[in-house]
């Protein structure tokens, strides 16, 4: 309804409404966004990832968009670094809905996932996503309810530790122009360790993070660049891509690395304590950062992002 308030404030005529400036693919829908994060150590202990969404009166169609969480960051050895984990899968599905029906939304979370630093010096070749490892499917986002069957998006695969003692650490791995994916010595961007989606109308698989060098030579502990997998179709109007994160010696604090990454992405970061920062909706599904340790203690690797679910309905 037009508002002709005064001679000072006039109405916006047809064709000039506020909706014109809203995203065309959301402006005519109701939106329910479901998050998954906690302000303390273990989101899964408190059920922070579970939501119920019930169909309001007058609603006949809903589209569920789901993102699995980013994979768990790998531990960083006393001397070494880590390949960033993979991004979560993304999927969407549209169903007819009945008012009063409720859907169970479970959002993959990124906490409870950081295993203690390992002591081994070999590649961690086994992705823990589907094999009962510490990740154990916690990163998976899914929705159950009428019209949906096995609709889910897996969380990203884990990152992997790279120890200074590994063969080739100072030569073929970090003193060449080859990207290092890390889930096996000959892994590649199209390798098998990528999050999948199921039961959807469409979607995208997760992608891998990788490491490259900085041209400084491996003797420099600032030689490392991590390429972190960005979320799938979640932010900045883009589907995929990587963000670069650099680190020097002993830049191994997981929350600091994540915060720096968020700052690099111009998403801002939290000035609060370490365990609560940068739980960012726009980065949901993003893989982990990384760190570099030059001796001393082991560390957990950088955090990854939680998943999310968006319901568009009308």
């Amino acid at each position: 309804m037009a508002k002709n308030l005064t001679t000072f404030v006039k109405s916006i005529s047809v064709g000039g409404s506020a909706s014109e400036f809203m995203p065309a693919d959301t402006r005519d829908f109701h939106i329910y966004d479901a998050t998954s994060f906690a302000l303390n150590n273990c989101a899964c202990d408190y059920g922070n990832q579970t939501h119920n969404w019930c169909v309001p009166p007058g609603i006949s169609t809903a589209t569920f968009h789901i993102w699995g969480a980013g994979g768990p960051g790998a531990a960083i050895h006393a001397c070494g670094t880590a390949v960033p984990s993979g991004s979560g899968a993304y999927a969407y599905k549209t169903v007819s809905v009945t008012p009063g029906d409720c859907y169970n939304l479970v959002v993959g979370h990124m906490w409870c996932c950081c295993a203690e630093p390992g002591t081994g010096a070999t590649w961690q070749t086994t992705p823990v996503q589907n094999t009962g490892g510490s990740w154990n499917g916690y990163g998976k986002s899914y929705v159950t309810g009428t019209g949906l069957t096995n609709f889910c998006a897996e969380g990203g695969f884990s990152g992997n530790s790279v120890s200074c003692t590994e063969t080739g650490y100072a030569t073929t791995m970090f003193d060449s122009a080859t990207a290092h994916y890390g889930l096996s010595p000959n892994d590649s961007a199209g390798g098998p360790f990528r999050a999948c989606y199921y039961g959807a109308d469409g979607g995208l698989r997760g992608r891998k993070g990788y490491l490259s060098h900085n041209g400084l030579g491996v003797s420099s502990h600032c030689n490392f660049r991590a390429w972190v997998a960005l979320p799938n179709c979640s932010v900045w109007g883009k589907c995929g891509g990587h963000a670069m994160l650099a680190a020097c010696c002993n830049a191994q604090q997981p929350h600091d690395n994540w915060r720096i990454l968020m700052a690099n992405l111009n998403q801002g970061y939290c000035a609060g304590d370490n365990v609560t920062q940068a739980q960012n909706w726009d980065t949901a599904g993003m893989g982990s950062g990384f760190g570099v340790s030059c001796g001393g203690n082991c560390h957990c690797a950088s955090r990854a992002a939680s998943g999310k679910i968006r319901v568009l309905f009308r």
Partner: protein
């Protein structure tokens, strides 16, 4: 107007760069944060008045006066959100209501001396150590001489409180933010707050508007109603951390309702709403209670309820700050 939309994932286009390269854009968050500016429960009205004077020249460097006079001005306004519920019995409440929002074109063809508008745009809110939350400030647009109120938002209605909300008998129960006679939108029959008459806020008395014709935000074209917040009780008596708090957001994604659900963040009894609010808005990279929290991402969102275990009083948080933008070219 630039629109950077993906066609691959409907609904997931990310941010729309509204007005980019087409308009000069001024974004103002007046007195943002947790300041105690004016509100319906104190007498501080008027502190946060702003004046927007129409630009005389939109030309680039070297342009002479009036070489390129302003031809179009748009005013986008998001009213502050209301406060979340506070309480002193063992229970929880619902987030407050979001602030209404509106977009207007400003008539630029005014006589000299009248080319400005005045706005009362108070932010913040007073934490009241009482059950229920704090209603929001009401933004208004005044004429150049302040003799006429041209537009007045209705206040966002505050959150409610319900004792024993996280008990074993409250499985999946939904608590809306308003009382039984308030602006409650019942999506189902579980409007439990209406039966807790001691724990909800009366709507603010309406009577300050120059012209009641303009008070009701009843359009979905350019004036958008407030949206209620609500809370969903978990099952199995898993304490407050299993309750989902659901806010209405004002992020200009839709002409319809936009809600976000956040669980209890791991907190149980005896936390203020401010602690909860700041935690929840880390979803948008928020900061801390005294530093703007989450900027325009929290614009007009309802405040979050406190969690009380009984014996002491805990306040709900203030609502998200109001924001206005002026575009002109």
């Amino acid at each position: 107007m630039a629109k950077n939309l993906t066609t691959f994932a409907p609904g997931m286009s990310g941010s729309v760069k509204i007005g980019q390269n087409d308009y000069y854009n001024e974004i103002v968050v007046p007195a943002s944060g947790c300041t105690n500016r004016c509100g319906p429960r104190n007498g501080d009205q008027g502190v946060a008045n702003h004046v927007f004077k129409f630009p005389e020249n939109t030309g680039y460097f070297g342009a002479t006066a009036d070489a390129d006079p302003v031809s179009e001005i748009k005013l986008w306004m998001v009213n502050p959100g209301s406060g979340g519920a506070g309480g002193n019995c063992c229970g929880w409440g619902a987030p407050g209501s979001s602030g209404a929002k509106a977009v207007f074109d400003i008539n630029t063809n005014m006589p000299d001396g009248q080319k400005c508008i005045r706005m009362c745009v108070a932010n913040g809110g007073c934490c009241v150590a009482d059950l229920g939350g704090q209603q929001s400030c009401r933004w208004r647009i005044m004429s150049y001489d302040e003799n006429r109120c041209m537009f007045l938002f209705t206040t966002a209605t505050c959150g409610c409180w319900e004792c024993n909300f996280y008990s074993s008998s409250k499985c999946n129960e939904v608590c809306y933010m308003g009382g039984g006679s308030g602006p409650v939108r019942c999506w189902d029959s579980k409007d439990t707050c209406s039966s807790s008459s001691a724990y909800w806020c009366n709507p603010e008395v309406v009577g300050q508007a120059a012209d009641p014709q303009y008070v009701n935000p009843d359009s979905d074209v350019n004036v958008f109603k407030q949206q209620v917040g609500y809370a969903v009780a978990g099952c199995c008596f898993d304490n407050a951390r299993n309750v989902t708090q659901v806010w209405a957001l004002n992020q200009w994604c839709t002409t319809k309702a936009h809600h976000m659900g956040v669980k209890g963040l791991g907190y149980d009894c005896n936390n203020t709403g401010q602690t909860q609010f700041c935690g929840a808005f880390k979803a948008f990279g928020g900061t801390n209670p005294g530093f703007g929290r989450s900027g325009i991402c929290e614009a007009g969102a309802g405040g979050m309820a406190a969690i009380a275990g009984g014996g002491n009083c805990y306040c709900g948080s203030s609502g998200g700050a109001g924001v206005y933008m002026v575009w002109y070219k």
